[in-house]
Every structure is written in C-alpha cells, then in structure tokens.
Amino acid sequence: MSVAGTLALAAVESLGAAARATAVAPPTGLSTAFVGDAVDWEFVFRNADYLGVGALLTIGLTVASILLGFVVGFPAGAVEVYGDGYLKRAVNVAGVVLRGTPIVVILIVMYFVVGVPQINLGVVSISSAMTAGILGLGLRSAAYQSQIFRATLASVDDGQLEAGRSLGLSRFEAVRYVVVPQALRRSIPGFQNEFTIVLKDTSIVFAIGLAELLTRGYDLFSEQTTAVLEVILFISAIYFVLTFTTNRALDRLGSYYAIPEGEST
C-alpha cells in the first residue's frame, strides 16, 4: 500500500497526458508541459477551498502533534539523561518501540485497537479519528523529540551542573536553571527537522479516514485525472509555505536567544 509509489506513477502518467494534451490543443506561447494546463489550473482553483480545509486539518494535526510531542518528549529526554532505574528503562523501551513501528501501524492501533473516544471541548469537538491521529503522530514525535533533548541535555558540559550545585542549587534546580536553558537553545535545529517531518507525515492519517491536504489532493485528481501535476504543484506550494515560514520563525527564535560569542576567550 505504497501511497508514494501510486502518486509517483500517477504523476508520470499525468505528465504523459499533459504532453498529449498540448499536442492536440495549440500551445499558449510557452511550453505548458511543466506548468500544467490552463483548464486543469482552473479546476484546481475552483476547488481551492476544498484543499484549504485539508490544509487547515494538516496545520491543526501538526501543531497538536508537535505540542504533544514536546510535552511528553522533553521530560522523556530528561529522564533518559538524569533518571535511573525502572522509569528510565520504561521510557527507553517506549521510545524504542515507538521509533521502531511504522507510523501507519501506530495510527491504526490508536484508532481501531485502542479506540480513542471523541473529545468534546465545548466550542469544538474533536472526532475520534482526529484524536487518534494526534495521539499517534504526537507520541511518535515525542519518541523522536526525546532523542533531540537527550542529546542536547547531555551536550551541556558537566562543569555547568557542578557550578550550579556548588552554589547550593539542588540537582533539579541546577538542571532547570543552568542546563535546560542551554539545551533548549541547542535543540532548535533538531526541532526544525522534527517539525518538517511531522508536517509531511500528517498525510498518513488518510489510513484512518481523515481527509487532510494530500488526501484531498488525491481525491481531486482522481476526479479529473489530467490535473495530477497541477494539484500536486498546488499542494506542494502549500507545504513549502508552511515549512518555510515555520523554519524561518524558528531561525528567528534561535538568533534571538543565541548566546553572544566574543572574540576573546
């Protein structure tokens, strides 16, 4: 059930179809093979709000999953560095299992096996598929984010913790006030990767029946099979805008909190 493979095949066929189409219809000045067909673009724009709803779902899933991933993944990373005994082992095993399981399997388990309920928050109600999607993507992201934070927490020199403790800070306080602020700064590049991965992996929720951006694109070009290229380009542009703006925002955050470095040592 390779979605990517199916899409790639469809895209290739569509390019062929586009080429044939331009051979019949007179070209409008430019070669239209790589920018698509006017009729198909018109089809895409007519359905832009259908795709827009998918984009909103994608954004919602990404934000919720990344947040859940942070809230669970950060403490998990800290336990892997500073914890011991059963807790550390449990966190470690959970991480290995989550990272070693295909995301489709995680989502299907959440939805069909665990059977998470619908959640009513008064104003909005979150469907059980959406809840399963957030939990699945979020917990897997937690497993990866824990490794980002484990690495950056461990990268802070031991002398920092020792200096904090020499002032009379408890171990927890020294980690909290001295190590964590430095580790979080170092986590930003890894976090950017993780964000991009989660954003693109939200497409896998089609497996539990959620129609996010890519699934809706698939629906659209199934309806008008000559428009595969146009739909894919349009969707890619949305993904690009989302990843680009978020990464730039995180770059900004990184340079705002960057620790000044002088020339002298």
């Binding site: 920092q160 904090g164 403790r165 020499s166 002032l167 009379g168 306080e173 002298s264």
Partner: protein, 248 residues
C-alpha cells in the same frame, strides 16, 4: 590544634574503584586562615578540596566545618554548599547568562532574594572584583581573567564562610594571572578563610598561613610557607619545589 578549629580534616581517605587517591589526609585551619595545597598533578589535592563541599565523596575520615560533620550522611549538602564558595579551574560560568546573571543566580534561586535585590548584590560583587564595566557581558565576551573574576564574584555573592579555590589560575594565559591573584590578595586582606589549590608559589609564600604538600594522595609535609619553602624536611618536597622553580 585546638578544639575550636574552624575546619578540621582528619584521616580522610578516598578510592576511585580499586585505586586509593587519598590516604589519611589531615590538616586544620582557623577562621581567617589561608591554607594552600600544593603537589604534583594527580597528587589528590583537587580531590581533597572537592571533598570539603562534597562534590567528591570521601569514604573514610572526618571533615569538621564549624563543628559540623561534613561527611555525615544526614547532612544537607545543598545547605553546606550555600556556605562554602567554590572557584573552578575552568571557570564554569553559566554560558547563557550575563556576568550579572551568573552572580545573581545563587542569591535569587538559593537565598530567595528578589530579582532587584539579587541584581544589586551581583553588581556590588562584580564591582568588588573590578568588573563594574562588564555587568551585561556574556562569558564568551570576556577574557579568561575577567571570567575567573566573575567566578569569584559568583561564589562571594553567597556570602560564604569558607572559599575553595581549585587551581584558579591554571587555565589562564600568564598575563592574565595577575588580575585574578590581585582579587584573591584582596580577599585575604578582608580576612576571608580560604583553602587554595594552586601552583602559584609566590602567592602561597605571600599569603598562606600554612602550606600542605601532597604527593600520591598523602600529606608529605606541612608547615608555614617560610619553613616549607626554605627548609623542607622531606626530600620529596624539595624535589617538587625545585621542579616548580625551574619552570618559573
């Protein structure tokens, strides 16, 4: 050796695994004393120093500070460290905080001072070590000598009753050592009780009340600097001092 010694270290031994790094080390200090620990690298002098604030754990012996047993398992180590300042060889300044932030952290988070009080205290301490112009500089923006003075100010801001110096000038370029020693001389003049591990023999000669020579984790010889430096009784002490002198 009176009953009211301020710091009394008695027969302290420590092992790293199988290897014994301290063998029955003993010495004592009065309030306001400066004791300098000297010895070749690996002699255990830094380890001995770190046992006093429990950054290293001694397995045997006794360390009485102001009448309290430091090595007692019931001791609150955080409270002990609140009262014992430490200056590190590698400075260990908090890299993400300014000079003021470094010095204010302890007063703010350990002593519970308000933001403003902690900042004021930090500024006072930085002025005390001659860094009135560098309040908002980050460690990486400071020279090594300036960083170490921030390190001293950070320890002083807790108003410790004992200061530990672990080779405070060993990581510094020669031209930067003077400014740190000058601050330390100032502390001696103010009557601070100081236990110092250093290779700066001129400093030891000038200010130490007692010099303790350690080798192989044992106290080989101890005494006032003029005696230990001019008329060492042990052959090993003499050899060590000659080696050091040839590098000066």
């Amino acid at each position: 050796m009176s009953d009211d010694d301020f710091l009394r270290v008695t027969d302290v031994s420590k092992w790293y695994g199988e290897e014994q790094v301290l063998h029955d080390v003993s010495f004592e200090m009065d309030r306001g004393d400066v004791t300098v620990l000297i010895g070749p690298s690996g002699s255990g002098k830094s380890t001995m120093l770190r046992c006093v604030n429990r950054l290293a754990e001694a397995q045997e012996g006794s360390i009485l500070l102001d009448g309290e047993e430091v090595l007692s398992p019931d001791l609150d180590v955080d409270e002990l460290r609140r009262e014992v300042g430490m200056v590190f060889q590698g400075f260990n300044l908090f890299a993400h905080l300014t000079a003021v932030g470094n010095v204010a952290l302890g007063p703010r988070r350990v002593l519970g001072l308000s933001e403003t009080e902690a900042r004021e205290r930090a500024e006072d301490q930085l002025e005390r070590v001659g860094l009135g112009e560098q309040f908002d500089s980050y460690p990486a923006e400071l020279s090594g000598g300036q960083q170490q003075r921030v390190g001293i100010a950070r320890a002083l801001a807790m108003e410790p009753k004992l200061m530990l110096f672990d080779e405070p000038t060993s990581a510094l370029d020669p031209e930067l050592i003077g400014e740190v020693l000058e601050v330390m001389h100032g502390l001696v003049d103010e009557g601070m009780t100081m236990l110092v591990v250093t290779h700066e023999m001129s400093f030891a000669r000038a200010v130490a009340d007692e010099v303790v020579f350690l080798d192989d984790g044992r106290v080989v010889e101890r005494g006032p600097p003029e005696q230990l430096f001019e008329r060492p009784e042990e052959e090993r002490t003499g050899r060590f001092l000659e080696r050091i002198a040839s590098h000066d």
